[in-house]
């Protein structure tokens, strides 16, 4: 009984915070045509070449960020668990930094150090700027990616599995590919989806580096149109929701998850 009360309270708070605003926004986004509900605003937004362009750009950036993140994080996290458990607190500290240093500060720093008159003038060229934002996003996603992979590694006995594989004749490459990666695959995916959602919605980096991604497009729409921003927000929410649902699905229905129950 008391448990039920709490469940209701949790659902209510969730509703007040997330769902009520969403529903209101959704309802509003349908009212572009006077007097009737229609998906007119969505048609307009999805048909806007600027939307397609910025959204596509952000998707590509997100995918590249994920690849970069996986390549950096998985071997690092594995090696640290296996051989350098003593430096784990240090690494955890480093990966937490992007959470607490405001993105504004990071971007200011980037612009300052990699500007056109610096020793590495990244902001001067199209490629450079894109590299810069890619690294920036990889930094932003570091906490989530590292946590996800590290949590995944925690559920298996990294040291013993590695030794078992070694005693059966396997070398490092095979161990990483056939023993470690398959067992943290779900964790990597969940980190990847979080990264995807974050990069798609990111505003400050893109705006200050003058890049035409989805975040600035949303804000621009928000200050210049009436119904389209709501439609956009609903679309953005749907994307992130889909990502989250995928994470949950993967976690729940993977064979490995069952093993842990």
């Amino acid at each position: 009984m008391r448990g039920r009360l709490w469940s209701i309270a949790v659902v209510l708070i969730g509703a007040l915070y997330f769902f009520l605003p969403l529903i209101g926004m959704f309802e509003f986004s349908l009212r572009m045509k006077r007097g009737v509900y229609s998906f007119e605003a969505y048609r307009v937004v999805l048909g806007d070449p600027h939307f397609q362009q910025t959204f596509g750009y952000s998707v590509v950036l997100a995918l590249l960020t994920i690849v970069l993140g996986v390549l950096i994080v998985v071997p690092t996290a594995y090696w640290i668990r296996l051989r350098l458990p003593s430096i784990r607190p240090v690494v955890e500290f480093v990966t937490l930094l992007p959470l607490v240093i405001p993105p504004i500060v990071i971007v200011f720093g980037y612009i300052r150090i990699y500007n056109t008159s610096s020793w590495l003038p990244l902001t001067g060229s199209w490629l450079g700027t894109n590299l810069l934002i890619l690294f920036g996003y990889a930094t932003l996603s570091l906490p989530y990616m590292y946590r996800a992979v590290d949590t995944g590694l925690r559920t298996i006995d990294v040291a013993t599995l590695t030794e078992a594989a070694q005693s059966l004749g396997a070398g490092w490459g095979r161990i990483l590919a056939t023993v470690i990666l398959p067992n943290v695959f779900v964790s990597v995916l969940s980190g990847a989806f979080l990264t995807f959602a974050i990069v798609i919605g990111e505003y400050v980096f893109a705006a200050l580096l003058n890049l035409d991604t989805f975040g600035p497009y949303m804000v621009w729409m928000g200050s210049n149109r009436a119904y389209e921003p709501s439609a956009l927000a609903v679309i953005a929410f749907a994307i992130t929701w889909a990502c989250m649902a995928l994470i949950q699905l993967l976690t729940h229905f993977s064979t490995f998850a069952k093993a842990r129950r």
Binding site: Q166, S167, T178, F256, R260
Partner: protein
């Protein structure tokens, strides 16, 4: 030369020497247990044989080949871990076939080997299961099959039974021993459980502070422990203070008792400590023996443990529970009997 030869092995972590000048020769097909408390270095020796730790000094030879500097994946050794360590993403068959696959065997051949191994461990139909679908005992048997599938020269078992329930532990230790005998594979078994070590092994190495305190057959280890540590770690023990009379007798609590061995070279009147196993003492309610008073009686099931006050000393004795006779009551006068063979004069550690 022995099949597996460890000579002058030493291992230090930082300033701590966990293994000190360790020598051991194991014959082909022998089953040797390393027995000792945690921290005695038994696992470190095993891990050096496996290649997971590099010896600080010393050499390891397998069948005459020096493997001291080889990596673990170059040693052709089978290892079974306490935590099973099956690959959770692979089926039982894939787990067992992992080693052969790494070794580059043909697919059909791998299939045959896996089938053979699963039959060997008595789980021929579970090839398609995942590890989490098996019980602990089954998982450990699969781990054994996986280790054996590469036809290793040496099988290393690192406390493979300690994560299992008591009943499964007993049945699995018999299975492991039978399998080892059938395959004739040279085996090292690490354990802190004296019953496991004594019941399974051809020879037992009792380890203490990085050294082999005693090496011998289970019967020798139990019956003639060399040091006080071995005597007290293997089984329970009464320690009695007395003084030497001559090479064959000592005085215990004012009474002269014969001692079969161990008193040679000690002077008359010299104080001496002897050990006495609780099960070597029996109660003679009337008649000869040392007179004492029952202090407490604990009923442990099959065994009744009686504490008897004997002058200033207390002796614990174990006897089987007998349906016909109730155990004695505290306060009852009793007489204790034991043989000259049962008094162990212990050396220093």
């Amino acid at each position: 030369m022995a099949f597996l030869d460890l000579s002058h092995l030493e291992k230090s972590f930082g300033a701590t020497r966990v293994v000190k000048d360790f020598d051991l020769s194991i014959e082909k097909g022998e089953f040797v247990s390393f027995l000792g408390p945690s921290g005695c270095g038994k696992t470190t020796v095993l891990r050096m044989v496996a290649g997971f730790e590099k010896p600080t000094t010393g050499t390891i030879r397998i069948d005459g080949r020096d493997v001291t500097r080889l990596k673990p994946n170059q040693r052709n050794i089978g290892m079974v871990f306490q935590a099973y360590a099956l690959f959770p993403n692979l089926t039982v068959a894939q787990n067992v076939g992992f080693g052969p696959k790494v070794a580059g065997m043909a697919k059909a051949e791998i299939g045959e080997r896996v089938e053979e191994m699963l039959k060997l461990i008595g789980l021929p139909d579970l090839g398609d299961r995942f590890p989490w679908q098996l019980s602990g005992g089954q998982q450990q048997r699969v781990a054994l099959a996986r280790a054996l599938a590469v036809r290793p020269q040496v099988l290393l078992l690192d406390e493979p039974l300690s994560a299992l329930d008591a009943k499964i532990r007993v049945s699995l230790r018999e299975e492991i021993r039978a399998l080892q005998k059938e395959l004739g594979i040279t085996t090292i078994f690490v354990t802190h459980d004296q019953e496991e070590a004594l019941s399974m092994s051809d020879r037992v190495v009792v380890m203490h502070e990085g050294k082999a305190a005693q090496v011998g057959s289970p019967f020798e280890i139990y019956t003639w422990p060399k040091t006080r540590f071995v005597a007290s770690f293997v089984g329970t023990l009464n320690l009695l203070e007395g003084e030497v009379i001559d090479a064959g007798r000592m005085r215990l609590d004012g009474i002269e008792v014969p001692v079969a061995r161990g008193l040679d070279g000690r002077g008359t009147g010299e104080p001496v400590t002897v050990a006495l196993r609780p099960e070597a003492v029996s109660l003679g309610l009337n008649g000869s023996g040392l007179a004492g008073t029952v202090e407490s009686v604990a009923f442990l099931g099959a065994v009744v443990r009686t504490r008897v006050k004997l002058g200033r000393q207390t002796i614990t004795l174990d006897s089987f529970n007998q349906t016909a006779t109730r155990p004695p009551e505290p306060g009852a006068p009793v007489r204790l009997m034991f043989g000259a063979d049962d008094l162990l004069v212990l050396g220093e550690d």
